[in-house]
């Protein structure tokens, strides 16, 4: 296995979010937020522009509150590593409807492509397995993405961590709204909650 992945991040996210239906999505700051926005803006996307290390736990709170909806956290290896303890918290709570999708290029892409712990060999999938996640997989090939997309809609077998080995390299930014109150309100309205 080569040191880094080869999958195109934009194509990967577009396939994973195709025909998304009931899927609720939380995006880690930086490139994953841009990738999810580029795949198509949606009221049920919660884009993070900060809060590094918090994406998975936002997903946990959401998944516990909405047990009948599939929840996917799409984030990067650097963001997931900062909140790595949160993977243990998720493993203990075992929300069956939560998936953590780590777009793993082994680098901190937003800050100049410094190599991350993942790039140095730390395996987030192995960490999730040893923590006790219900389902863990590592995706390296395009043909595996369609089956992975289907798994994200399964609300019975999580928590799930999918490590997707994407290629390092710059991708043009695609910038969603940054206003947090707007993003929060439209997300909640999509679930039927009125703006306070």
């Amino acid at each position: 296995m080569s040191q880094f992945g080869t999958l195109d991040r934009r194509e990967t996210v577009a396939v994973l979010l195709a025909d998304r239906g009931e899927l609720l999505v939380v995006c880690g700051l930086g490139s994953p937020t841009y990738d999810v926005f580029a795949a198509g803006d949606h009221d049920a996307n919660f884009y993070l522009w900060g809060a590094m290390g918090g994406a998975a736990l936002i997903g946990l709170g959401l998944a516990l509150a909405q047990p009948n909806r599939p929840v996917a956290v799409v984030t990067g290896d650097g963001e997931a590593l900062m909140g790595v303890g949160g993977l243990l918290t998720i493993a203990v709570k075992r929300p069956p409807n939560l998936s953590i999708v780590v777009l793993d290029n082994g680098h901190f892409g937003e800050t100049g492509m410094q190599m991350s712990h993942s790039g140095h060999g730390v395996d987030l999938a192995a960490i999730a397995t040893s923590a006790g996640f219900g389902a863990v997989s590592t995706v390296t090939e395009r043909h595996e993405l369609a089956a992975t997309r289907t798994m994200l809609h399964d609300t019975t077998t999580g928590p799930r961590l999918v490590r997707v080995r994407i290629a390092p390299g710059e991708t043009p930014r695609a910038l969603p709204a940054r206003d947090g109150v707007y993003l929060k309100n439209r997300f909640r309205q999509s679930l039927g909650y009125a703006v306070s």
Binding site: G54, L57, L60, G61, L64, A65, L191
Partner: protein, 192 residues
């Protein structure tokens, strides 16, 4: 994390002797129930132990143990996105761990209710608790969090109720600091 935990006997299990048990944790629990708080997350503290037990024992609540306090900030945001009210229980040493994550709550105007048991002030034995205890109100206020205090057990219900209204109805970030005077002196010497 509060080690060693020595202000409770090993026999401190529910139910316990009502004539000697402090009732303020029960007052807080009743308040959380009245506000329909669903998700209770915590990094343990001896002062919160009764409240934590009651949350775990309540089938209508989801109690989540965290590895570090900022997880509870993020979890509170996610809970609100999904329509749940959350509360974060921690001790003052955990407040510093939350600083940057508090940006999430203020920039998105997410409700935050956190109940903070204070260390490092009233009759503190451990000097390592003092700096963060002293810094706790200032750190919270610098990040835009409204700070309230409980200095006597009989204030608990009214103060937590006021904080919950401000948080959940007013979309504000609110911390209630529970004085070490209310929690009681930590007993360091003698049998655990």
């Amino acid at each position: 994390m509060d080690l060693p935990t020595s202000d409770q006997s090993p026999s401190d299990q529910l139910p316990r002797d009502r004539s000697t048990a402090p009732t303020w944790p029960d007052d807080i629990f009743a308040c959380l129930k009245a506000f329909e708080v669903k998700q209770v997350c915590y990094v343990p503290d001896a002062g919160h132990s009764r409240l934590i037990k009651r949350a775990h024992a309540d089938p209508a609540m989801i109690a989540t143990v965290l590895t570090t306090e900022e997880e509870g900030i993020a979890l509170s945001a996610g809970a609100w996105l999904g329509g749940d009210r959350a509360v974060l229980l921690m001790q003052s040493s955990g407040v510093g761990n939350c600083i940057n994550m508090l940006s999430l709550m203020t920039v998105c105007r997410f409700p935050l209710l956190t109940l903070v048991t204070m260390r490092g002030e009233w009759a503190e034995f451990n000097p390592w608790q003092v700096p963060m205890g002293r810094g706790t109100p200032g750190v919270l206020q610098h990040m835009g969090v409204t700070v309230m205090r409980i200095d006597a057990a009989e204030e608990a219900s009214e103060t937590v109720s006021a904080a919950a209204s401000l948080a959940y109805d007013g979309d504000q970030q609110v911390a209630v600091l529970i004085s070490q005077k209310v929690i009681g002196r930590k007993q360091w010497l003698g049998a655990k």
